[in-house]
Structures are given as structure tokens and as C-alpha cells.
């Protein structure tokens, strides 16, 4: 996979559509074409209800598209079983959510270690890898704290550390600063900037224009149709 990444895209969408089978059917995504290359920082912006989250879920293999082709690392995701799609999520995609989704009863370090639980991996070195991820987000000193005692920004850093364990091909962020104040937002965006500098591929879904502006490439989605912007 490593050599292929150098030559091919991280992901490619060709005329991808997502239709919800209500009556009448809702076309949440219409003929979306998108190619993301390794190391890119892509911002997907758009008003609420425009299909941002649907696109993110399709890209993150949390949802299946209903038409078109979606290649992840050159593999057609439509041909994958549920177990393989779960494997893809576990190893190749790191998720960051608006509401952090940390387990409140477990210390920060264990929350980060959770990233490896579904990789059928032994415990050997898990703690060290989690500590290394925490170091990337500069939260080593909070390793033994419960998430409930951290500020929102710190909680989101923990979530980012969890997403970074095992060096995923893609970091997928859904409104990562939606619950944060402007100062904390700035520091999180700075963190993304630093990760981008290290070569990580980033996709950030946001409706805030100033955050989208920091990305190296921007696309807009309106009524399920994607357009390059900027």
C-alpha cells in the first residue's frame, strides 16, 4: 500500500451518488467527483443540510454510496464486506468528531489506546504508541486525567491523538471546532497545520469559512453537488 500511495490518490470518487430510500427519494449526493492526493489538506464547506456529513460518512466508509465508484487506496469500496470496511476504518482512517466522543470513565491514555482495539493487535507497545500520539498533540501531561476534567480544546486534542495512532492514510474531521471557542479553535487549526506539514492527508468538513480558508484546497457542496472553490 505504501508504494501505491506514492503514485495513486488516497481516494477517488467518480459520479458518486447517495440516495435515501424515502418516498420521494432524497438525493443527498449527486454525481460527486473528487480526488484527494496524499498530503493534501482539503476543506469541505457548505451550508447545513447540503450533504457535507453524508459525503463524509461515505468517504469514511460509515455509509455506502448508492451509485458511482469510490476507490480508497485504489480499492473499490463497493466490493468490500462489512468486516473489511470496518478494517479500513480501523487502520486507514482516523476520525475526529465535533463532540469528541471520548469515553468519560476512562483516562486519557486509555481513550487513545482504544484506537487499536479493533485491529486484532497484541497489547505489546500499545501504551507507547498511545503516548507517542499524545506527544504529537502535546498532552502527555494529561495522560492520567479523566476526559471530564479537561477543557474542550484538550478533549479534542485527545480525540485527534486517538485518530493518529497507527498513522492512518487519512484524517477525517467532522466540524472539529464546532464545540470550541475561537481561541481554542485557532490552536486546533494550528495543530492541523502542523500535521499537514508532516505530510498527513486531512479532510475537514466545516461550515465556518475562516477555517476552510486555512486549508490548501477547498471544495463547496450545495444541495449534494460538489464544486471546487478558491
Amino acid at each position: 500500500m505504501a508504494e501505491r500511495r506514492a503514485t495513486t490518490s488516497v481516494l477517488e470518487l467518480h459520479e458518486v451518488g447517495r440516495r435515501f430510500g424515502t418516498d420521494p427519494p432524497v438525493h443527498a449526493l449527486v454525481d460527486v467527483d473528487l480526488r484527494v492526493d496524499p498530503g493534501e489538506w482539503l476543506a469541505i464547506s457548505g451550508p447545513s443540510g447540503s450533504g457535507k456529513s453524508t459525503l463524509l460518512n461515505v468517504i469514511g466508509c460509515l455509509d455506502r454510496h448508492t451509485s458511482g465508484t469510490y476507490l480508497f487506496d485504489g480499492v473499490d469500496t463497493a466490493t468490500l464486506s462489512d468486516g473489511e470496511r470496518a478494517g479500513l476504518r480501523s487502520r486507514c482512517i482516523g476520525f475526529v468528531f465535533q463532540s469528541f466522543h471520548l469515553l468519560p470513565h476512562r483516562p486519557v491514555l486509555q481513550n487513545v489506546m482504544l484506537a487499536e482495539v479493533y485491529r486484532k493487535q497484541s497489547h505489546r507497545g500499545r501504551r507507547d504508541r498511545a503516548l507517542a500520539a499524545l506527544e504529537q498533540v502535546e498532552l502527555t501531561h494529561r495522560a492520567d486525567f479523566l476526559p471530564t476534567r479537561l477543557s474542550g480544546g484538550e478533549q479534542q486534542r485527545v480525540a485527534i491523538a486517538r485518530a493518529l495512532v497507527g498513522s492512518p492514510s487519512l484524517l477525517l474531521c467532522d466540524e472539529p471546532t464546532g464545540n470550541l471557542d475561537s481561541r481554542t479553535t485557532a490552536s486546533i487549526i494550528d495543530l492541523f497545520e502542523a500535521l499537514h506539514q508532516e505530510g498527513l492527508t486531512l479532510i475537514i468538513v466545516t461550515h465556518e469559512e475562516d477555517i476552510a480558508a486555512r486549508a490548501s484546497r477547498r471544495v463547496r457542496i450545495v444541495d449534494g453537488s460538489l464544486t471546487e472553490a478558491g
Binding site: M1, S53, L62, R89
Partner: protein
């Protein structure tokens, strides 16, 4: 897990499936339980009470029935006594042969047998002194019994001092006697070192032993016991009055059937056999009227416990919607979600089973200690209890676990926090 689309071999090798090690699965389930330890313990309580009641009930009924059977085993269940059946003119004379004990010992299942007869001494009194002392009583009206040597074994006689008469004394009609403790006390004889003698009527008998106790035929405690041969010679004893038999455990019923034939093959109907009641009947009676209520209570508690686990697991699944979404996002399949919740509910059941078995066993021991019983517990009961608890947890957790597994990760992430 659900719909599998056709896929090429290259895809299969390119994308590893997600998976979880057994250790991680257990770690996650245990962590889920310990996230809310108070709630987990309260949930487990129903199963604890149910299984404690069941184990205690089973244990106590076993203990109680064992106690009763134990008492029968000790004496009554191994004892039979053969006498002559009283006819219209009193007991049939010479109904029992002299070799009755020897005949019965030949039966398989007989441990010991001996004949015993009350000796008619006429008006003869028993005394220790040949001289009448006017100031104190020296002559007593004491019962005199004639025993074969085997009788002492059959009644489990315990000797205080001296010795028991043997077959030689009987054959030679030696004038020797063994005293029951009551008789020895009244006669004022405490030991045999001084070679004390007693007079029955005008005849002197050497005291060769003093009994401490007998388990059967308590008449012997206050009697003077002389050898059977001596009684025939001196008092004209016509035939033994009864045969006391000790059988092996469980053989009493059989020996009771065989003994009349062995003793009087010509006319077994003139003999009367006293045998213990059937021990099985005792056990059934004890078990049937002791436990229905407690078993019912245990069953109801278990049902309540199962509903409790189902309820709490369902609440927990709904509360942890966000966690389920997150787990799906970081690679869990539906099966992984279901397995975690099933393992959590099963663990609650197993823990409830272990605690319940412990409490139930303690209750059995405590009640037994209070009532001076020997605690008896079927070894399967405490080991089956965690298993039963686990099955209850598994069954109770099935619906909530499936519900958690059915959640769409997208919806779960959106609604849960």
C-alpha cells in the same frame, strides 16, 4: 456480516478485516462494567439473591435429610430384633433355637447377632455380702439377663472395666457375671481388681466385668448379665427370648425377611421381626414439605434479576449510543458491538452466580452451625450457580445487544454524545 457483495481476491488481500483479540474483548467488557460499578452491583443483586436462595434451599434440604438419615444409619436402620410372636397363651416357648445367633451370622449382611433372655430367678435377691447387715440394705431385686457372647457386639456394649464372658464360660456354665453400670452402682461395685463376687439367691457369681454403656437394649444397663449356658444350667432357661442383630447399612430390610426362615424353617410365622422403617420414605417426606416456598422464591428472584439485567443493559446501550458510534467508526463491526454487550451482561450473571453461591453456602453452614447439623451441599450446586447466572445474563443481554448492534454508526454518532 450482512450482505456480502462479490469481491476479488486482490481486494481481500489489500484490506485486512477488523478484528478484536479475546483479551481486548474482555478488557472492554470489564471496563464497561466498572464504568458504573454501583449500578452494576445493584443490577447483579437480583441474580445474587435468586441463586443464594436456590443454593441455600438445596443445601439445607440436603443437610436436613442427611441429618435424619444419619440418625437412622447410626442405630435404628441397622438394627433388627427377632422375638417369638405372642400367641393366645403368651409367647410361644422354645420358639428360638439356641444357635439362633450362629444361624443369623451366616446371612450375608449381618454384622453381629446375639441372643438375650430375661432369667427367671424366682424370688432370689442379689447381694454382695453373704451376711445380712440389719442397718443397711444389702439385698436387691435386680433383673438377671442371660446373653450369648455375640450379644455384646450386637448391642455395641462398651466395657468400663474387666472383660466380657466368652463362649468358654457359657459352655462350662461358669458362674461369672457382667454388671450393667446401674446394677454395679446399686451393688456398690466399682472395679474388678478385688475379684468381687455377688450372690444370686444362694449361689455366688464372680464379677468379671462392668459395662459403661450399651447402644441397644438399654435394659442391660440395670441388669446382671450371666452367660447363657450358666442360665440354662442354674435356672433352667428353656430357650432364648430374643435375637438382637446388627446389620450392614441398607441390609436391614433384607435380613428382616430372611431371619424367620433361617431361624425356624419349619414355621417362620411364629417369629416376630422388628425392623426399622424404610429410610427412603423419610428422605422424601423431608424434601417435599421443606422447600417448595424457597425454590419458588429463588425462581422469582432469578426472573426479577434477569429482567433487571435486561433493563439495565438496554438503558446502558441507549446511554452509550455515542460510544457505539465511535466504536463503529474506529473499526468495530456489528458483531463486535453485540459481543461486548453480551459479554457485559453475561459477566454480571456470572458474578451474581459466584456471589449467590457463596452466600447460599454460607447460609447452609450458618444454619447448620446453629442447629448442630453437619452441612451437606451437593458439590454441583455452587459450581452450577455461576453457569446458571451466566446463561441468565446471556439471555437477558441478547435483546439489548442486538439493538446496539443494529444501530447505524452515522445515526449513533449524531445522536449520542
Amino acid at each position: 456480516m450482512l450482505s456480502r457483495r462479490p469481491r476479488t481476491r486482490s481486494n481481500r488481500s489489500a484490506v485486512p478485516r477488523s478484528g478484536i483479540t479475546i483479551r481486548d474483548l474482555f478488557d472492554e467488557a470489564i471496563a464497561g462494567l466498572f464504568a458504573r460499578p454501583g449500578r452494576t452491583m445493584l443490577t447483579v443483586l437480583g441474580v445474587v439473591i435468586g441463586l443464594a436462595a436456590l443454593v441455600a434451599t438445596l443445601g439445607l434440604s440436603r443437610t436436613a435429610s442427611n441429618r435424619i438419615i444419619g440418625r437412622f444409619d447410626e442405630l435404628a436402620a441397622t438394627e433388627i430384633v427377632v422375638t417369638a410372636k405372642p400367641g393366645p397363651a403368651g409367647a410361644e416357648p422354645e420358639a428360638l433355637p439356641w444357635d439362633a445367633a450362629a444361624r443369623l451370622r451366616r446371612l450375608n449382611g449381618v454384622v453381629a447377632a446375639g441372643t438375650l433372655s430375661a432369667v427367671d430367678t424366682g424370688d432370689a435377691l442379689v447381694s454382695t455380702s453373704p451376711v445380712s447387715d440389719p442397718r443397711s440394705q444389702t439385698d436387691f431385686q435386680l433383673s438377671v439377663q442371660a446373653a450369648s457372647p455375640g450379644l455384646f457386639t450386637a448391642v455395641r456394649a462398651d466395657l468400663e472395666t474387666g472383660r466380657l464372658p466368652d463362649i468358654g464360660h457359657s459352655d462350662r456354665a461358669d458362674r461369672v457375671a457382667v454388671l450393667g453400670p446401674g446394677a454395679a452402682l446399686r451393688l456398690g461395685i466399682t472395679g474388678v481388681e478385688q475379684l468381687p463376687a455377688i450372690a444370686i439367691g444362694d449361689d455366688l457369681y464372680l464379677v468379671i466385668g462392668i459395662l459403661r454403656d450399651v447402644a441397644r437394649q438399654p435394659d442391660l444397663l440395670g441388669s446382671i448379665i450371666i452367660p447363657e449356658g450358666t442360665a440354662r444350667h442354674d435356672f433352667g432357661l428353656a430357650s432364648p427370648e430374643l435375637v438382637a442383630v446388627e446389620t450392614q447399612i441398607g441390609a436391614a430390610t433384607l435380613i428382616a425377611q430372611q431371619a424367620p426362615l433361617a431361624l425356624r424353617p419349619d414355621d417362620p410365622s411364629i417369629l416376630k421381626v422388628a425392623s426399622p422403617p424404610e429410610p427412603q420414605r423419610v428422605r422424601e417426606a423431608v424434601q417435599s414439605d421443606l422447600n417448595v416456598l424457597f425454590l419458588l422464591l429463588g425462581g422469582v428472584s432469578l426472573l426479577v434479576g434477569a429482567i433487571g439485567i435486561a433493563n439495565v443493559t438496554l438503558v446502558s446501550v441507549i446511554e452509550r449510543t455515542g460510544e457505539i458510534g465511535l466504536r463503529r467508526a474506529i473499526g468495530a463491526t456489528r458483531w463486535h458491538i453485540a459481543a461486548q454487550f453480551l459479554l457485559e451482561s453475561t459477566s454480571m450473571g456470572v458474578v451474581g452466580g459466584i456471589l449467590g453461591a457463596s452466600l447460599g453456602s454460607l447460609a447452609v453452614v450458618a444454619v447448620s452451625a446453629y442447629r448442630d447439623w453437619t452441612p451437606v451441599l451437593d458439590p454441583a450446586a455452587p459450581f452450577l450457580a455461576p453457569l446458571v447466572g451466566g446463561v441468565i445474563g446471556l439471555v437477558s443481554g441478547t435483546y439489548p445487544a442486538l439493538r446496539g448492534a443494529r444501530m447505524e454508526p452515522v445515526d449513533a454518532l449524531r445522536t449520542g454524545t
